[in-house]
């Protein structure tokens, strides 16, 4: 055990914490720069404390590698990581995401015409959305084989119902006043759908899309635990855990975290552009 690193980590933590409290309570705290600086300082603090504690307590690599070790592994194994990323994210997760979300929106528009179907499907859909759909992964892997098709199928199963429920809710979110206005314009069903109800449903649809980004990545990775070709993030994680190559596992997690956050960020950006009129975007 080396006290130097521990004391350094503790001192760094106290210093940045004080700095953050100062920044947050300063009179400029509403500015964009400080709004960005505070979480960044917090994140850096976590990394430094992590590094300090791992070095200070001599934590063995098989339990928790230090951030610097993970970074070193990350830099040296970029080709493998890229191959896994393409296999899991681009082929598995993205394909499933588009198929699942697309078919859910179409289904929602179709059942939206029938009150009866809506009242029946919404509770059932809500129920299924709360179920551990991940559990269907072994079945779907059995049906669609080991390659990315089965991963995409798991993703479709996972994102379909949250997306369906959100879209149906969104389509019914127009007020009577707005629908009356469309009626006075003598708009037919299709015009009302395209000009009023779909735009009004956008905040809900994007809510579903954002939830689905995380689900898609989880589904694609977990499905690989049940069988996959010899590439893919889930495959790499489970085999490297077996070999106790924890630095590689953490490098994969870093990729997953970056991919997940970026995916979410892109959807949030598109949302900002599409639903610029919504109160939550104007603030």
């Amino acid at each position: 055990m080396s006290w130097g690193w521990l004391i350094f980590a503790l001192a760094f933590w106290v210093a940045t914490f004080t700095l953050n409290v100062r920044l947050a309570n300063s009179k400029n705290s509403e500015t964009r720069a400080i709004g960005l600086a505070v979480p960044i300082i917090f994140g850096v603090t976590i990394l430094v404390v992590w590094e300090g504690v791992v070095r200070g307590l001599n934590v063995p690599m098989v339990i928790l590698p230090a951030p610097s070790a993970i970074y070193a592994k990350f830099v040296t194994s970029v080709p493998t990581l890229w191959e896994d990323f393409v296999q899991t994210f681009v082929k598995g997760a993205l394909t499933g995401y588009f198929i699942g979300c697309g078919s859910a929106v179409i289904t929602a528009v179709l059942i939206d015409r029938s009150q009866f179907l809506q009242r029946g499907l919404l509770p059932v859909g809500n129920f299924i959305a709360a179920l551990p759909i991940v559990g269907t992964a072994p079945i779907l892997v059995m049906w669609f084989g080991f390659d990315w098709q089965s991963k995409a199928a798991v993703v479709v199963a996972m994102v379909f119902f949250p997306m369906l429920v959100n879209t149906v809710q969104g389509l019914s979110s127009t007020t009577a006043m707005q629908r009356d206005l469309m009626a006075t314009y003598h708009a037919n069903y299709l015009q009302t759908l395209v000009k009023l109800r779909l735009p009004a449903a956008m905040p809900f649809i994007f809510n579903g899309l954002k939830i689905s980004t995380t689900l898609a990545l989880i589904g694609a990775i977990v499905a690989e635990f049940f069988g996959s070709p010899i590439k893919g993030m889930g495959f790499r994680i489970s085999t490297e855990v077996g070999k106790l190559g924890l630095d590689m596992v953490w490098a994969e997690i870093t990729v997953a975290a970056i991919a997940g956050s970026a995916f979410y960020g892109v959807v949030a950006l598109i949302e900002k552009g599409v639903t610029f009129w919504h109160p939550s975007q104007r603030g």
Binding site: V38, V62, I253
Partner: protein, 291 residues
Amino acid sequence: MKNVLPILTVVAVIVAIWYVAAIPMNKQWALDQAARADTTLTTGALVLETWSQERPRLPAPHQVVTELWSSTGDLALSGSAFSKRSLILHAWYTLSATLLGFAFGTTLGILLAVGIVHSRAMDMGVMPWAIASQTIPILAIAPMIIVVLNSIGISGLIPKAIISAYLSFFPVVVGMVKGLRSPAIMDLDLMRTYSANQTQTFWKLRLPASMPFLFASLKVGIAAALVGTIVGELPAGAIRGLGARMLSGSYYGQTIQIWSALFAAAILAAILVGIIGVIQRRILKRMGMAQ
């Protein structure tokens, strides 16, 4: 109650689709068997055959229900409710880890929310990371958590509970922050005219006002906790719990076993969410907040 008929219709349609889908899915195997035995199947016999295979690609609903019953109720009646092939036993393992993780997650979530509401630095610093933490597929690192904790001598419930806690804390944080901030300016002003300090305002105004939000997020949280536990049971050769049943079913091609474990998990989730719903209604009614 006007929703009962539509719901039943939808469920009936799903079951019907399921039966129909089972025919093409299982057809090949039935035909192969018939060819091997040098017999030809009439259409009716073929359909019946696809619904009663031992290892079908898609088991028919009644097969799943039968398996579910024979591994729960039937065993319970014969006095061996906690034998190794009893789903009650496996559901119990999963349930105990879920509840432990849910308790961890909820406590952590509420504490974080209290901190976020009372400290601006925490609000600005922690909240973005709490959101970012959910874009990381934690389930992907479940095997690592299990193996690592195992190697330092912690095994059993705790590793699974940690995973489910990680999944369930987030909805609670978000809901509680919203809830603790839900009192109107007017209410807060009233507390100030009473000269109430922060602690008093918290216990007498903020906490009661947050209850509806808390329960809404508890429902999401417990469902997430169950998913976390099941995934936590998948890797590292777990031998107990619903997740382990799915995994062993997938290794040995026991599709009916996978499906019945899946249904047991679904029923468990429904019961848990239902229980929280009942508590919610009771408490909100006592507090005069029922809608």
